[in-house]
């Protein structure tokens, strides 16, 4: 629990552009990314932003497509807030937070209700139109909570989907044409395909104090900032892929515009940093193999 004085100190720090840890408004804490951390998953990544630590693991399974979209795969998102991460997450306290963040991730990655403006090619996940497709489960786990969880989750999601290897399927038509064709999974990692994750956005969370926007808030700063927080999903080209306001205070259109501009400026840089770390690690692994 932070005291009133501490809260005011943090808010003033943001307003003056010099925060408690010496950062300016638009500085991120050091970002650390590690790929393929969960051996049981098809793709996974761990992301550290300052002291915040999250893990995202992606698993795929063959299942039936949704009735409305027979020739598309399905992507599910879930986020679990481990009580290890923060004392506030015990009991049922973190269930809503997890569901909120999962919904937010889904909207930023998949786009509108029809999943058509999304950043993933869902058609590539189709195996047999109308009867079989890949279901991709993106499971996030918050390990240590010190603010900017959604930012960290989105970065880890992008990295985990870059790391994702989907096994090859062999479809052999069965003897009886009425029957479903047989599907066999190829376990050889050499034949596995990856998914194009280059268009997946990262979330930049902004808050403001006295008109000065700031990114990457620590848990203390999140508790101190009276204004609303805005989650902006930005992809590598600077396009806005999602926007969500959080908090009980209203927001002025001008302030929102300023925040969007800052997010569009920072988002591509963040994407680039994530890409650089991903390619370095994937390259290292290939050489190792």
């Amino acid at each position: 629990m932070t005291s009133k004085g501490q809260r005011r100190y943090a808010a003033q720090g943001i307003a003056l552009g010099c925060r408690a840890d010496g950062r300016a408004g638009k500085d991120y804490r050091p970002l650390q990314l590690e790929l393929a951390v969960v051996p049981q998953a098809n793709g996974s990544a761990r992301c550290l932003i300052g002291a915040s630590e999250v893990l995202v693991a992606v698993k795929v399974e063959v299942n039936v497509p949704e009735e409305d979209f027979p020739d598309q795969g399905v992507v599910h998102f879930s986020v679990e807030c481990s009580p290890c991460a923060s004392a506030a997450f015990q009991g049922r306290g973190a269930l809503d937070l997890g569901a909120d963040m999962a919904g937010n991730l889904r909207r930023s990655v998949l786009g509108g209700s029809a999943s058509m403006g999304g950043s993933l090619d869902l058609k590539a996940l189709c195996i047999i139109s109308g009867s079989r497709c890949w279901h991709v489960h993106v499971d996030g786990l918050v390990i240590n909570a010190d603010g900017s969880l959604l930012d960290a989750l989105s970065i880890a999601t992008r990295a985990a989907l870059t790391d994702l290897q989907i096994p090859r399927v062999d479809i052999s038509p069965s003897d009886d044409p009425e029957d479903e064709p047989e599907i066999e999974l190829d376990d050889d990692p050499e034949h596995a395909a990856s998914l194009d994750a280059s268009r997946i956005p990262v979330v930049v969370t902004l808050a403001e104090a006295e008109g000065r926007p700031a990114v990457d808030l620590t848990a203390d700063e999140e508790a101190s900032c009276p204004g609303p927080r805005v989650h902006v999903a930005v992809n590598g080209r600077g396009c806005i892929c999602g926007l969500h306001k959080q908090g009980n205070a209203p927001l002025q259109l001008e302030a929102l515009q300023e925040m969007l501009a800052l997010a569009q400026q920072l988002g591509p840089r963040l994407c680039k940093a994530v890409n650089a770390q991903c390619t370095a690690q994937l390259h290292g692994r290939r050489q190792h193999a």
Binding site: D100, R107, K245, N248, Q252
Partner: protein, 238 residues
């Protein structure tokens, strides 16, 4: 009793012809059958019923009531929102047997409830009912597109009807991006083919945004255009 198989009508392939939409609207026009009324639930402290053509929403407000012990003590009042869909609200009947589908539906309803809460709370003077809770119960009778926006308008109306002190009314609307066109107040068929959407809720007199939600890839210009469109057009709605 034998059940009658139901085949939903095919979704239309084309949404626009000569710049008009299937229901005869232009791109930047609200649905024409807008109907607003209050006092529709006699037991509630305040209520409203709102129709936007095929989207029909009923909202009841209960409270302010004493906040329970289990929910902890809050200096300010709180809104507690609940959104549920009637079993017959959508093309497919709400599943009651299938557990996986039910939990998905529940998750969706919960998400809408939390978004409704975000959209309404900034407009409500929470300090006027300390340590108490106001329940906002929203039932979507028919889901015909832009459900959340319609529910937000209805809930703001019902809150006003209940005599809850507010800074301003809240008006909300959705915009869908289909191809390169921006369609205001989309129907379900239009939302089905959208590449992105934007939901904006604001206090029109104060010109303050209470909630904004955007999904799908937008360039900056499209986003700006989207909310210019929605904010401009929200004025007459309020």
């Amino acid at each position: 009793m034998q059940s009658v198989p139901f085949h939903a009508a095919e979704r239309p392939l084309e949404l626009l012809s000569n710049g008009t939409r299937l229901d005869g609207r232009s791109l930047e026009e609200f649905r024409r059958g807008i109907f607003l009324s209050t006092r529709s639930v006699s037991q509630a402290s305040g209520s409203s019923y709102v129709e936007f053509d095929n989207t029909k929403v009923i909202v009841a407000i209960y409270g302010p009531r004493e906040g329970g012990h289990s929910e902890g003590l809050y200096e300010q009042g709180r809104l507690q929102c609940d959104v549920s869909f009637a079993a017959f609200a959508s093309r497919q009947r709400k599943q009651t047997g299938d557990r996986a589908k039910m939990s998905k539906q529940n998750a969706y309803e919960k998400e809408l409830a939390s978004q409704l809460c975000t959209a309404l709370t900034p407009a409500v003077q929470l300090a006027s009912f300390p340590k108490s809770v106001v329940d906002v119960c929203c039932v979507v009778l028919e889901s015909g597109g832009s459900d959340l926006a319609v529910a937000t308008c209805a809930a703001a109306l019902a809150l006003a009807d209940a005599g809850i002190e507010m800074l301003d009314l809240v008006a909300a609307c959705s915009v869908s991006r289909v191809g390169d066109q921006l369609l205001l107040d989309p129907t379900t068929d239009e939302a089905h083919r959208e590449g992105g959407n934007l939901m904006l809720a604001m206090m029109p007199t104060a010109n303050l945004v209470t909630s904004i939600m955007l999904a799908g890839e937008h360039t900056s210009a499209q986003a700006t255009e989207g909310y210019r469109l929605s904010s401009y057009l929200l004025q007459p709605l309020a």
